[in-house]
Symmetry: C2
Subunit: 116 residues, 2 copies
């Protein structure tokens, strides 16, 4: 069993040409014995964004806090706390923070994806 505040996990920061103001954490993964899917959380700072990218695995997301937009299927859709997103494999996508507080997105991937 593992029960912890997500903030107890050290983040990996992404701040480059493709991603801006992003802190990612693996919440539950193979190191915990979770071999079927991996839970991460991404904190995106105001003005920040994930890379616009495509990969051969899906995302299941839950918006925990903040305000933003998600790009998928060629357009942007607003995301708010309590929103759910499913991004199928091989679909270009991106998330940006359009608010003034951290955008916090729980994001799960299957085991063939890199955990972070």
């Amino acid at each position: 069993m593992k029960v912890i505040p997500y903030n107890d996990i050290s983040p990996t920061y992404f701040d480059n040409d493709l991603a801006k103001g992003v802190a990612g954490r693996v919440l539950v993964g193979k190191n915990d014995g979770a071999n079927n899917f991996c839970m991460r959380i991404f904190e995106i700072a105001p003005g920040g964004h994930t890379p616009k990218h495509t990969h051969p695995w899906e995302h299941e997301m839950f918006i925990h806090a903040g305000n933003g937009e998600i790009y998928c299927d060629g357009g942007w859709t607003e995301i708010l706390p309590g929103h759910v997103a499913f991004i199928p494999a091989n679909i270009e996508h991106q998330i940006k923070n359009t608010g003034n507080t951290l955008l916090k997105v729980v994001c799960l991937v299957p085991p063939q994806a890199p955990e972070m």
Copy 2:
């Protein structure tokens, strides 16, 4: 792609000898083309609880809102918003709401588990 507020999904209610005050929703599952893992959310009313049970699949959980406790490995642990829980397969577990507002738990299961 699917991006929706979780409240747009109709809940299934559980109120019986084993579970009390629980509303469950499948957020992302096989009907969406998500075949590798299934995201659900459970709202547990103040005083309510899930069944104390065991099954041969794991849970990965993220606490979105509320206050409660989770039973696992023979003891109770406090859960708060932003807490993460991993319950391995075949471990007895239960969640109860110890607060005055809805306890909202995002809970994922692998594809061999019932989605709800």
